[in-house]
């Protein structure tokens, strides 16, 4: 299982209180993880990436193992510690006031 941390407002929307665990069939890529996340929590569709183009929303970032993976290809394999559940994949709302 892959551990995913989602931002506070999306936890409220998905009615979860902490990180979520996601099973990914096949190769664990960033795109496959987001597909599985949206499949388990359909109310998150459109909140992290565009529903049609699958592009990441501008104020969303993806962090893992101390690295910013936001600009990685959706087809890139996720790091081993993420795949093995040692570290969480973090979906973060960009710092911006208001």
């Amino acid at each position: 299982m892959i551990r995913v941390v989602i931002p506070y407002h999306l936890r409220t929307l998905a009615q979860v209180t902490s990180e979520v665990e996601i099973h990914v069939d096949g190769q664990a890529t960033q795109g496959a993880l987001l597909d599985a996340l949206e499949s388990k929590y359909p109310m998150l569709r459109g909140t992290i990436r565009d529903q049609a183009t699958k592009e990441r929303r501008p104020f969303i970032r993806f962090f893992a193992c101390g690295e910013d993976l936001s600009l990685e290809s959706p087809n890139s394999p996720l790091p081993d510690p993420i795949v093995k559940g040692v570290e969480p994949f973090r979906i973060v709302g960009a710092m911006a006031g208001g």
């Binding site: 931002p7 506070y8 407002h9 999306l10 409220t12 929307l13 109310m43 569709r45 459109g46 909140t47 992290i48 529903q51 049609a52 929303r57 104020f59 969303i60 709302g93 960009a94 911006a96 208001g98």
Partner: protein, 370 residues
């Protein structure tokens, strides 16, 4: 005993205010969707417990929420708003053409006859309809064929903010767009006509152009569906022929700039506006918050001030932030960017704040409950 439910959308969540028919004591429930912008909430006229809410965020985009129990609980429904076909382009601030891009839902208008049918007015301006309670949305794309390439964003974005269904003609719908103007369909949304003849706008090169006007709000009384009232960027306007032509009825208003316009529930010729100082200031003239009422369908206006701050008041009242109830003594409600929601239970003669410290109010709707 009957009562009222006031649906308040704010910059940081939604609030539901309820009272009995006396409208003296209020219960404040919320925030719902805390931290999100709620541009609009609205209830079905045929099932008052069916509510729809537009919840959005610059980070996380658009969510549509639905309630089947008057706002006690909510469930997210469909939020995929895909323009029909190739979206094309519209006029941009610098005169160039700019691609159509969905940003948010400004208005949710439930059908007059079916609680599962609801219209959504969106930015960039377009009209969508759902017939399954908000799960799936289809664009009524004929609207953008009404010279959409000449529409342009106002300061608040290029938004479809007003949707009015004609209760006497199920095929007829009116919408208004900033900054494009007013439009009418007579075939249930397939084709649309610009209805802007008589508007005069100094902000565009051809001041009487067919489209391009910054219409802020429209209002209609259901018993006189051919009479429309408009608060334009500047000018309060009236049409007696379903929008085919307009005449100015600003009369003695201290400023004919403003955002909302509303019609009394039982007096089709009694209308309300809130004059605002512009350009750019966007607060009440002289720091005095005054609702203006015309009992003659325009031209002759009286200031309503009892209970409203008459000094040092510098709030704005946005286009969707005024509504009326249908109790015997008609109630008028409006919300401010300062977080106050004011109510009058006597047609505007006197006012009291229901709440005073909400986030900036984006919209106010009122349901009259049986």
């Amino acid at each position: 005993m009957s009562g009222v439910r006031v649906l308040v959308g704010t910059h940081k969540g939604a609030f539901i205010l309820t009272s009995d028919a006396k409208r003296k004591k209020w219960n404040v429930n919320g925030p719902h969707f805390a931290g999100w912008e709620v541009y609009h909430m609205h209830g079905s006229p045929v099932d008052p417990n069916r509510l729809y809410a537009s919840q959005s965020s610059g980070w996380f985009g658009q969510i549509i929420q639905r309630s089947n129990n008057g706002g006690q609980t909510w469930e997210p429904v469909g939020n995929k708003f895909a323009y029909e076909g190739v979206p094309g382009t519209h006029l941009w601030y610098d005169g160039t053409q700019h691609p159509w891009e969905f940003k948010r839902v400004w208005r949710l208008e439930p059908s007059l006859t079916d609680p599962d049918t609801v219209y959504a007015g969106v930015e960039d301006a377009a009209l969508f309809r759902s017939t399954d309670g908000g799960q799936n949305w289809q664009e009524l794309s004929g609207l953008r064929e009404a010279k959409g390439h000449l529409w342009q964003p106002g300061a608040g974005g290029m938004c479809l903010h007003t949707i009015i269904q004609d209760p006497s003609n199920s095929q007829r719908i009116y919408v208004a767009i900033s900054a494009a103007g007013a439009f009418r369909t007579d075939d249930d949304g397939q084709t649309w006509l610009p209805i802007n003849q008589g508007l005069n706008s100094g902000e565009i090169p051809d001041t009487s152009a067919e489209v391009g006007h910054c219409v802020h709000n429209l209002a209609m009384h259901p018993s006189h569906p051919n009479i429309l009232f408009m608060q334009k960027h500047w000018d309060v306007m009236r049409s007696d022929n379903s929008g085919d032509s307009w005449k100015e009825v600003s009369g003695n208003l201290p400023s004919d700039f403003g955002f909302p316009i509303a019609v009394h529930a039982h007096e089709p010729n009694t209308i309300y506006v809130v004059p605002i100082k512009s350009d750019s200031e966007h607060f009440p003239p002289d720091g005095k918050l005054r609702v203006y009422r015309s009992r003659t369908g325009g031209n002759e206006w009286e200031a309503l001030t009892k209970g409203l701050p008459q000094s040092d008041c510098y709030v704005n009242i946005l286009r969707s932030a005024m509504a009326v109830d249908a109790l015997d003594s008609c109630g008028i409600y409006f919300g401010t960017t300062g977080g106050q929601v004011y109510a009058s239970s006597d047609s505007g003669d006197s006012w009291m704040p229901i709440v005073s410290n909400l986030p900036a109010v984006l919209s106010v709707e009122v349901q009259t409950l049986p």
